[in-house]
Amino acid sequence: MSGWFANVDWSEIGQACLDTLAMLGGSLLLTILLGLPLGVLLFLTSPGQVWQNRAVSGVLALAVNLLRSVPFIILLIVMIPLTVLLVGTSLGVAGAIPPLVVGAAPFFARLVETALREVDRNTIEAVQAMGATTRDLVFRALLPEALPGIIAAATVTAIALVSFTAMAGAVGAGGLGDLAIRFGYQRFQTDVMLVTVVLLLVLVQFLQMAGDRLVRHFTRR
């Protein structure tokens, strides 16, 4: 056994797993907290909706598209000054979270907007016709109706974040991606590469299954 995985330091792998999970958990939580309201705002300000506003919707769309068009590896570097300002360091788990959130939140917001568009037009009108405030409309109708779609969006975003964390590893964030690059790639330690990739696969597989199960649980159609 030790012959096959001679280069693998299991305690280092364990630490890298924890780092990856911490980056993923922290950034996913913040991405949802920022992306969900942004997605709702994108939807509400779009033409034909209750807060339709060409200017606001145009500015939001531009900001979202701008952030989504920057390759993540560039975003990581460009964000360094802001990251230091926000969390005091650009290294480690804490240093990775701001760029991860900035990279993923616009993506998640777009997916949320798409999920909200799936809500039946008559349903929205029916709730408005009851005398609902916009707040009622969002919290009592739009979000509950779009919940399966929003969970699916969070699943896709979480998986995108897994690959983002691996990239963040390249600029000193730690985690499984960092191990894969430093040992697996740069030192040709194929066994380390294999172990990290398998662990990342297990993580992605788990996220997808959990997401699918939640979507099924909340789908009443």
């Binding site: 033409p47 039946d120 037009r121 008559n122 349903t123 929205i124 009108e125 029916a126 709730v127 408005q128 016709a129 009851m130 005398g131 609902a132 405030t133 009622d136 009592r140 109708a141 509950p144 109706e145 919940l147 909340f218 009443r220 159609r221």
Partner: protein, 321 residues
């Protein structure tokens, strides 16, 4: 109760959905608005609860200009105006009970009130045992019943029906229309119903407006518009699938319209015996409006004393040549 004056509505795209509509709906009547798709019916009905605003003109309910309302004023009005939809508009993520309870929750009703009112409403539409189901578990007719229960939750005095039966089969349509007629009778609800089906108008409406290209081309009682249409657009709509073209008949042709109990009389054979005139039935329809029967026949007269026959026909119904 509802009054529209010179209402125009143009969308941002420049498309004019309504081009000068005047309309008046009296309290307690079932008022139909019929028109083909694209005639502006959906826009028109949405003006009545402020889902759409007129570009110019006024929309008033009991003297209150709907377009001038916003915020709490508009929400208060909307609680007086229930609405049901072609695709039902139910929340698929909520049970039937919660769907019906939603307007009450939005209006700030407490738990005890909701627990009391929702079963009442469900019983009213014949779904007493279905509260725990989700909409996906119901048939189309049942979904529309939930929609109706929900529209009634806040005790409105106006009910708007936006193609409410267009997604339903003919039998279910009849049962939903019967329910709507009951609500009109028992609760005194004023009902504005838009549809593209003449059948729907014939079954439940008291009066009807025919909408064509954003204008009202004809308004009147259902019997009047149905039996004696004035506008070409109305005639085209009535003739759908049954335009027989000019009739070649050698002799006088008249149209006889019978209403109410007159259709029960053996009119033609009696007149034929008395005057010696024979009748050819060239076209005809017999049916019921909301609360009256009617018969309308196109007759060809042959032989005998046709003048006496015409006079006799006039005693039983309206005759036009």
């Amino acid at each position: 109760m509802i009054r529209l004056e010179n209402v125009h509505k143009a969308f941002a795209s420049g498309h004019a959905a309504l081009a000068g509509v005047d309309l008046e709906v009296a309290r307690g009547e079932v008022f139909g608005i019929i028109g083909r798709s694209g005639a502006g019916k959906s826009t028109l009905v949405r003006l009545l609860n402020g889902l759409e605003r007129p570009s110019t003109g006024s929309v008033a309910i009991d003297g209150t200009d709907v377009a001038s309302l916003s915020g709490e004023g508009l929400r208060t009005l909307r609680r007086r105006v229930g609405m049901i939809f072609q695709n039902f508009g139910l929340l698929s993520s909520r049970t039937v009970f919660d769907n019906v309870a939603l307007p009450l929750r939005i209006a700030g009703a407490d738990k005890a009130r909701i627990a009391e009112r929702v079963p009442e409403l469900l019983a009213r539409v014949g779904l007493a045992d279905h509260g725990a189901k989700y909409p996906a578990q119901l048939s189309g007719g049942q979904k529309q019943r939930v929609g109706i229960a929900r529209a009634l939750a806040t005790g409105p005095d106006i009910l708007l029906c936006d193609e409410a039966t267009s997604a339903l089969d003919p039998e279910t349509t009849r049962s939903i229309l019967a329910l709507i007629a009951d609500l009109n009778r028992e609760l005194g609800l004023t009902i504005v119903l838009i549809t593209h089906e003449m059948e729907v108008v014939r079954q439940v409406c008291d009066r009807v407006a025919v909408l064509h290209a954003g204008r009202v081309v004809e308004t009147g009682s259902v019997a009047q518009v149905f039996l004696d249409p004035k506008a070409a657009e109305t005639r085209a709509m009535l003739d759908e699938g049954g335009d027989h073209g000019p009739i070649a008949f050698d002799g006088p042709i008249v149209r006889l319209t019978l209403r109410g109990d007159a259709i029960l009389q053996p009119v033609l054979t009696r007149i034929a015996r008395e005057t010696g005139t024979d009748f050819a039935i060239l076209d005809g329809r017999i049916g019921r409006f909301k609360d009256a029967s009617f018969g309308q026949l196109t007759l060809g007269l042959a032989g005998g004393d046709t003048a006496a026959a015409l006079a006799a026909l006039r005693q039983h119904g309206e005759v036009s040549e």
